[in-house]
Symmetry: C2
Subunit: 332 residues, 2 copies
DNA sequence: GCTGTCACTGCACAGCTGTGCAGTCGGTGC
DNA sequence: GCACCGACTGCACAGCTGTGCAGTGACAGC
């Protein structure tokens, strides 16, 4: 038995008794093929299980149908929701998603990411993690438009679309809400590897608090993960005094919330108010009811699509994703 | 300004003053190139931002480096965890993940899935959703090995590796645990679109209950989602009587759990015991503490890798993923 | 100086598709 | 019968890479 191979247009042409060009044309809308030939070709293709090789087709065009989706931890609830929404939307546009998990890259994230270019992706979308400068350069040199979601803006003059939730406004909303709840000693929890977006959320929060004369403790350590929130809560709440905590991410905030409630026996929002940022699907669950700053997933997805639709040579743009306070039950 | 294009080996050859073959060889380990030429070529490539085009390279080989990952809802916590682990593992093997979200396909899931073959994926891995017969045939005809994770086994004789958690044993473990807790009137919640795996979990559960003379109510409706658990709980617990519920998936079980506790004011496990299946990361969170049947993610990932490593012409295999009871706090 | 060896090097082709261009063939109008 | 037109059709090449094969040059051995 011969080793199974992919069926090619030549195989179909042989079976249908036409030239290979005819096969190609039978799959190109608007191309000149007789109805009879098209029917014979489709029948032969069906029999053999033929599918047009998009890889070879890409050689002819200047861009492929592939979009590189880069993320660090796809099990983060908000990232997962983004991934779900984005992959749906992209496929609706006839594009395919090439996934890239940076967690598997050891030291050389940069080399790992560059591998996306090996597949001639037409776009690279960064959902999390930083964008190494050489990757941005590489994308520009190859005409692959790059989209950064809530990532630090690249150095001046480099090509990359930015999609940014209004972190500063979000941070202010969170601060004002805690103040309205009567909090007088608060903390903000950021992950150690703080992206600009997360830093901006924290800084805007601190600025408002400073203006109102409220003392802020900053906890910055660990990954952007649930465990970080747990650790932060244990450490920050070891001694009483704190009455409000802002988790710079829902996942962190949920770690804080659960630890406060179930491990330390605090009443939220009775003893402590907790507020997050993102509005991940699970934040709404009745086990959490997390008050949080929502960055609209729809707006974020729409902006990404718009950025991707722009031609490769168009100048980079900046999209603003609106932010709003979602009242639930973790703030007094 | 000319339209930016991908840099090709010819461009590099021109700049480095060598033939295009030399460029190709400079990126092929073990090929005959002088050290001097290799250095010049790498320098030129670096300057231009050249990357080997894997799409074109694939034309020469009989398989690509692409693995198709198919799922229905990537924001399901367990699916997301699978995706995270799998993408990491595959990339460690030098393979890339082509994502396929079946949620974006309307009626023609089959056509949507077949599009994966357009990219000459070397494997198709189904994380959720059913495998249409024609897709299985298509994969076989093109020599792309197919891997089904907890999916219904395809018709006799078709080529597909099966990775199956021991659903029956899991269902039995769940039943026995509820019986040990003293439950006398129980329910099982399955989604409407029940896969064989989920059906098998429910059936094994029911069989044990029947053998012990315990009445079982079956709730089968809606998607495999949190909302299904919520609805089921509202409906099933409208009148008192039930003292144990088995959610065929952690996400469903969490919907039941949260609704019982926070909406209906029941004490779990005081008034009601709840048990799930999967052991998703969030089940462990102190806000839930869900007792559940764990299907080892490590074993599942390892089995998938093993299946993928097998040559295309090797006969299909069946991998068993062990299952174990994880005791937490939702069963008396 | 001649020959053989060895390390490279480049040509040419394969691998699969899309497409410009020229050619075929039937049909129509006169 | 002839010119013309329109609808197809196939050839040949482009697009990018990997590789067999022949060729080139240096160099050692005699």
């Amino acid at each position: 038995m011969t080793k199974p191979r992919f069926v090619s247009a030549a195989d179909v042409a042989r079976l249908a008794g036409v030239s290979r060009s005819a096969v190609s044309r039978a799959y190109t809308p608007g191309a000149a093929v007789s109805e009879a030939a098209r029917k014979r070709i489709h029948a032969a293709a069906e029999e053999l299980g033929y599918r047009v090789n998009r890889l070879a087709r890409t050689l002819h065009q200047d861009r492929s149908d592939l979009v590189g989706l880069v993320g660090g931890n796809f099990s983060n609830p908000y990232i997962a929701a983004q991934l779900d929404a984005l992959s749906c939307a992209l496929q609706g546009r006839g594009l395919q998603c090439l996934l890239m998990n940076t967690a598997s890259a050891g030291a050389d994230v940069s080399e790992h990411l560059a591998r996306l270019l090996d597949y001639r992706v037409r776009n690279v979308v960064l959902l999390s993690g930083a964008a190494p400068d050489d990757l941005i350069r590489l994308c520009a040199q190859n005409g692959a438009r790059m989209v950064l979601i809530n990532r630090p803006p690249p150095p001046e003059g480099t090509q990359a679309d930015l999609i940014l939730a209004d972190s500063a406004r979000g941070g202010r909303l969170a601060a004002e809400r805690l103040i309205a709840a009567g909090c007088r000693r608060v903390a903000v929890v950021v992950s150690g590897s703080r992206t600009t977006a997360k830093k901006a959320r924290a800084e805007a929060f601190c600025a408002v608090m400073a203006a109102r004369g409220v003392a802020v403790t900053t906890w910055a350590d660990g990954a952007n993960a649930y465990a970080t929130g747990v650790e932060a809560a244990r450490s920050l709440l070891a001694r009483p005094g704190l009455d409000g905590i802002f988790g710079v991410t829902d996942e962190i905030a949920l770690g804080v919330l659960n630890t406060a409630r179930h491990e330390l026996g605090l009443s939220v929002p009775g003893d402590l108010s907790v507020i997050g940022f993102d509005d991940a699907p699970i934040s709404e669950w009745s086990s959490h009811g997390l008050t949080t700053i929502r960055q609209s997933l729809d707006a974020l997805t729409a902006a990404t699509l718009e950025a991707i639709d722009r031609p490769a040579e168009a100048p980079p743009t900046r999209f603003a994703v609106p932010v709003e306070l979602v009242e639930r039950t973790t703030v007094a």
